[in-house]
Symmetry: C2
């Protein structure tokens, strides 16, 4: 798996360094604490999977490299900004094993830093010189924030599977979709590539988030950097739990949880163990696999080149990864 | 003064209603709580001075009305978004006599609502179909947020007057500047009007904020909806205090305050009374008057029409108003 990962990231390695530079480009112009916060966030890494998708797609479709680098930086900054506000709202103290901003700063400073990164992301988006892209950027931001508001006021009534899908679209797939669509917009033949590349981004994003949610149940706690089944502990229903409910509608612990009741530690651990040992995990992974297959199908009409191979690898990587 | 106010607002009354409509246009597409929050914020009013400036300038310069309405809505939404995060950070419970969002909602919901309104503002800005305007929008957002970060980490060292000017530029004048510059960009002769109209916005914005800061010391508490000298009570040094310090460098209470010390209630009231009865208030108003005179000079090369007269009235209104 390491080999697979390396291959497609390798294709855009130089461009990814340019993306990192673009993200830091505003440093020194504003308050040193804003710069320090951005440096802290960027240094803490992340997989850079969204910019990689944009870079591969842009290269495949003949887009001007400098514009694609700017787009990729804009997308990763937007992603970073939403994480800053999310971590504050959730009270998360660690991300990728590194202290979050809100773990170190006041809520006020954290809110403003997130705003500052939003502004940087918008500035980068404007620098792509594509009005349509700017519109998509703003729409995606609305989708993401609306999803977070919906999650904050979520109820357990209604279709759990549908709510789950809506939520991961807003939170993750919408930005992958933007990466694919916007890269195609900057290419030489947007009329034939925007639709498939938008869908490619959507499918990969859905698969990526489903696997994230599976890893929450199965991952190595040390690597994930969070307690096992952290989502469920926070009352968040993800796909493995949805599948488990469909398979075991009689489970009393889960019924209890869905009534918004507080679970005793013993009930919670029993429920987590039950989900982990049920077929719900495999069913969730099968769903992710179907999204990846759809993503690969989207690539069929795209130009045959090594970047297309890279995008195929990227799609597969989302379900093969262990962190 | 009422007559003056009415005249220039009257010129754009219909367009202002269209701006209100545009600000509410996304309603129903997203979470009902986001819509409710926007409705609450918009219903609580405000003077709509920024959109009025943009509308008058756009009309004077032959810009397409629909685009100027979109611009004006974008600017007011951006203003609204920054107020939502500001009130949260400052813990303000009332604005214009009406409960703030953070007085009613959790911090998380308030942060996200602000983000949602930012996204709406960015979407509206993109809908003006001007790339340059989009860039200015993003730059202005960065300037505003950077100003807030600077204020949060402010120190009392350095040049108080310079800090004050930087702070009111970031907080207020930058958005007035955007209103003037962007309206000119959408007009028929941006090459000759962008520079003077940008400066006009800047000058009016500076005057507007200085008068706001004077009214904090002199205004009718009921009308202002805040305790007298609320800024100073929060430790914020505004122009009247800067002037007072220049006139009375020996004042022990003020020296105490500038050492970041906590003032006893008696010291604080004595200092407020001293500033109010000193010439510092008049000196501050004189400064605001000089900004207005500079703004009026910017209008000289603009087309002679009733909208230009309206802009002149608007500039004067910023120093004549009592709320």
């Amino acid at each position: 798996m390491l080999a697979t990962t390396a291959t497609f990231f390798e294709l855009v390695r130089d461009r990814l360094s340019q993306v990192e530079e673009r993200m830091r480009a505003g440093a020194g112009q504003h308050h040193p604490n804003a710069d320090a916060a951005i440096e802290h966030l960027l240094a803490s890494g992340g997989k850079r999977i969204r910019p990689t998708l944009a870079l591969l797609a842009g290269e495949m479709l003949g887009a001007e490299p400098a514009r694609v680098v700017t787009l990729a930086a804009s997308i990763e900054m937007l992603h970073t900004a939403t994480l800053v506000h999310d971590d504050l709202i959730d009270g998360s103290l660690l991300r990728r094993g590194i202290p979050t901003l809100n773990a170190q700063w006041t809520p006020g400073a954290t809110v403003l830093t997130g705003d500052y990164i939003f502004a940087r992301a918008a500035q980068l988006a404007a620098q792509t010189s594509s009005l349509r892209l700017m519109e998509l950027f703003a729409q995606t931001l609305m989708t993401i924030v609306n999803g977070e508001i919906t999650q904050l006021f979520r109820s357990r009534r209604g279709d759990l599977r549908q709510s789950y899908y809506q939520s991961i679209y807003a939170k993750t797939a919408s930005l992958f979709e933007l990466a694919g669509e916007a890269a195609a917009l900057l290419g030489t033949s947007p009329d034939v590539s925007v639709k498939p590349m938008k869908d490619f981004g959507y499918q990969v994003g859905m698969a990526f988030q489903i696997v994230d949610d599976v890893l929450d149940f199965t991952g190595d706690q040390q690597q994930v950097g969070k307690p096992l089944a952290n989502d469920l502990r926070q009352g968040l229903i993800t796909l493995p739990t949805v599948h488990y409910l469909e398979m075991h509608p009689e489970d009393a612990d889960l019924a209890h949880l869905l009534e918004d009741a507080h679970l005793e530690s013993q009930e919670l651990e029993r429920l987590i163990a039950a989900i982990r040992s049920s077929g719900a995990i495999q069913r969730s992974l099968d769903e992710a696999g179907r999204f990846v297959a759809a993503a690969e199908a989207d690539l069929e009409t795209m130009p045959d080149c090594r970047e297309r191979d890279g995008l195929r690898q990227l799609a597969r990587y989302t379900v093969q990864r262990s962190t």
